[in-house]
Every structure is written in C-alpha cells, then in structure tokens.
Amino acid sequence: MTYSLQVNNLNKTLSGFSLEDISFNIPSGSIVGLIGENGSGKTTTIKNLLNIMKKDSGDVIFWDKSFDNHEITIKEELGVVMDEIFFPNNFTPIMINKVLNNTYKNWDEEKFFSYLEKFKLPKDKIFKEYSKGMQMKLSISSALSHKAKMIILDEPTSGLDPIIRSEILDEFLDFIQDEECSILFSTHITSDLDRIADYIIFIHEEKIVFSKDREELLTDYGVVHTTEEELDKIPKKLILRIMKNDFSVSVLVRNRYELSEQFIVDSTTTENIMLFFIKGEIL
C-alpha cells in the first residue's frame, strides 16, 4: 500500500493542551475523516502537519518525502481549506485569483473560474458578501485549482445546509477519482463520513483512539443493550465502553459476531462509536 501521508509520533504542547504521540497513515486514493469533539485536537493536528504551528517532535512524511526538508515542494501539491475566512473580507475571487496565480506554480486560472461557474459564485462580489456556504465553496475552488494531489480540510461542512454539504461531498468524490489523490478532512458531522470516508481516525482528549477502515469498523463494532446483572457474561476483552442509565446498560463491543449467539448485538454508526468513547465509561 502506498501512502500519501504518514505521521509518526507527532507531539505538541500548548498551555493546558498537549497532543501526544499522534500517528496515522493516509493511503493514496482514499478519503480519511478525522473525527473528534470540539477541542479534541483536530485543528491543532492539521496545523502541526502543515507547519502552521511548530511541532515539538515527530515526523510528517508526504509521498515518502519529509515535510521538514521539502516543505515548499510538498505544499505545491497540497490544497488546504481552513474552517475560517481565508482572505481579507474585501477580496473578490478575481483578486484571489491574482494572488494565488503568483503563489502556485501550477495554478490553473481556467479551472478556478470554471469552479466559480459550477458553484454559481459571482467573480466580482467581495468575500464578506458571500454566505458561509459560498465562502466554503470558494475556498474549495481555490484548493482544487492547482493540480493538488491531496486536499486537507478543517471542518469544511460545519455550519452548512445539507444541500451545500452534499454538493461539496460530491466534489470530494470527483477529486478522488484519480487514485493518486487523497483527502484528509476533519469534522464532527459523522454522517458526512458515513457517505464518503474510507478510513476514520478518531481523536479524543488530544490522543488518537483508533485509526481504522470505516467498513471494518462498522462491521467489527456493535452495541449490546443489557442489564447490570448480564454485563458479566460479556468477555471483558470485547468491551470497549459502557453507558449506563437507570434501567439498562449499553455496551460498545468489538468482534461483535463472537457475541451474536448469546446477545442481540446491534450494528452501530460512527456517531454512536464517537459518543461511546466520549461519554462512556471503561469497565
């Protein structure tokens, strides 16, 4: 398997916050979702990958090249979308085109304006007059117009209505048609991942909880609804998290088919798994 990105033992300490030994891989040709609640470290991880924040230690390798030694050449092949405004408010797409044309060697002006047409974004309207959805579409148009091999997006769909979200997700699926290309995007809207992601990286309290193939994850994990008394019948090695209420206990288990003879094991969703890890207890 070839990787677009390999991250090994990335560490970063800020006041009251510390990313610890973050390691994960992004296979070429895949869409990877980085999930976690607000403040879990998703944005900090992305900023450290890109040297927007200075990492304390760790290796970041894009296409077998060390980011520390090839930062500019690697960034030529990366498209980045941050979750906030990216150009001054008074900029029009025409002005953004002028700046990015002088930034990227492979900037494709025609492609950029064709995206604007596709997304129905007026060329001469200033950025602050755009809606949040239009701003995100403009940001994505910029990230896709310089023959990037990988797109990194920080919360691209948060705050957008379902129609715009769907349009954006379709664009990601189009981008990934070239098997050399890959996408890493952070989100807490797990339904978006259920639609397009191949892999899920779950980050919680500044640590990676798991990094898994999404289909394997949903096949492997399940939820057992039982009582406190019955709980002992589930082998401890299979229990990942439990959530109790007054009448029953919900248990997130792995290797769910091992339990299917004794219990009714429900299939689960990415959102449910995330909830169990955040709200649940360890036995």
Binding site: L14, K47, L50, N51, I52, M53, K54, E71, I72, T73, K75, E76, L78, V80, M82, E84, I85, F86, F87, P88, N89, N90, F91, M95, K98, V99, L100, N101, N102, T103, Y104, K105, I152
Partner: protein
C-alpha cells in the same frame, strides 16, 4: 513573496482610493491657507498607517494560518511586509518632498528639516511597530506605537541635550548619521521579526 506583496497592495488599493479625495481636499486647503505643511504631516502619518492596515486585514481574516498552508516561507511573510511598508514609505516620501519643495517655491516656507525628520520618525516607527505586531498582534502594537509617538521625541531630545552637541543643520553628520541609524534599526527590526515569525504558532 510576490503574491504576498500583491495581496497587501490589493488591500491598500481600497483604502488609498477612499483617502485620495480627502487628500486632494487637504491639498486645496493648503493652497487656500498658503501653507502645505498640514498635508505633509498627514502624509507622514499615512505612510505608517498603511503598515497597520495590512496587519489589520491579515489578522481579521486570520490570513497567516491560510498563508502558511500555501507554498510560502515564514521568511517571505516577514520580508513581504517590510517590502510593502518601504514601497509605501518611498511613494509617500516622494510626495512629501515634492510638497515641501512646492511649499518653499510657491509660499516661501522652508520645511525641509521638519519633513525629513518626519520621514526619519516614520521609518523608525515602522521598525519598532512591525516586530511587536508579529509577536503580540495589532492591538498591542498600536499601544506601542502610541507610546513611541508620545515618548520617542522626548527621549531623543533628551539624549541629544545630554550629549551637548552643537548641531549644525547643514553638517554632513546630520545627513549621514540618521541614515546609518535607520539602516541599523531596520536591519535589527527585520531580524527580530524573522526570529519571532519563525517560532510562532499561528
């Protein structure tokens, strides 16, 4: 770096457009009052304020986070800001010197010494302000600017007084020493900003 300079000037284009007519009114007023010094001092203030404006736009749009995700070095972010500031300064300096010349020719008022002092102070303030803005952000840098404008002249005057120098306005030293001071201060300022930005988390 070229892209960043273009970005700064695209930002300034809006401001310059809106201020141009006001400047024309002040020039007209200068002709009516038969003294262009007021517009000269406004231009000196503007030469510094454009630097502030560039920082304001970048901070409001959190441009540095995005800019550093582009194929741009941290050094380029620093150098481009100084290049923009010095280009703006050069243009306003030429206007200031032209207006000072007009003031002396048309109205017989010689402001050369004060005009050149204003230009000297402008470069000095840009050099002080820029590393502070990179380190602490625009708001704190503005406070440092107000502090510098209020106290720098007093400090400088007291230094000159304590040195008990007999200053001859036409002396060669008075023309060369400020230039050397500016070069040193600007070099230190650029070096400091580069170190600050190279270590900063955006």
């Amino acid at each position: 770096m070229k892209a960043l300079i273009i970005k700064d000037f695209l930002n300034l284009k809006h401001i310059i457009k809106s201020q141009f007519q006001i400047l024309l009114v002040f020039i007209a007023l200068g002709f009516i009052t038969k003294n262009l010094f007021f517009i000269i001092s406004i231009l000196a203030v503007l030469s510094i304020s454009y630097n502030l404006t560039c920082f304001a736009y970048d901070e409001n749009s959190r441009f540095y986070s995005y800019g550093l995700a582009l194929p741009i070095n941290r050094k380029d972010i620093v150098f481009s800001r100084y290049v923009t500031s010095y280009i703006v300064f050069l243009v306003t300096s030429m206007l200031i010197l032209l207006l000072t010349y007009m003031n002396s020719i048309i109205f017989n008022i010689s402001n050369y010494f004060i005009s050149i002092t204003l230009l000297f102070v402008s470069v000095l303030l840009i050099a002080i302000f820029t590393p502070i803005a990179f380190k602490f952000g625009l708001e704190k840098a503005k406070i440092s600017m107000i502090f510098s404008v209020s106290f720098l002249p007093i400090v400088l005057i007291n230094i000159f007084k304590s040195l008990n120098l007999n200053i001859n306005l036409n002396s060669l030293y008075l023309k060369i020493i400020p230039m050397i001071i500016l070069l040193i201060v600007s070099f230190v300022s650029i070096k400091l900003s580069t170190i600050i930005v190279s270590k900063k988390d955006f």
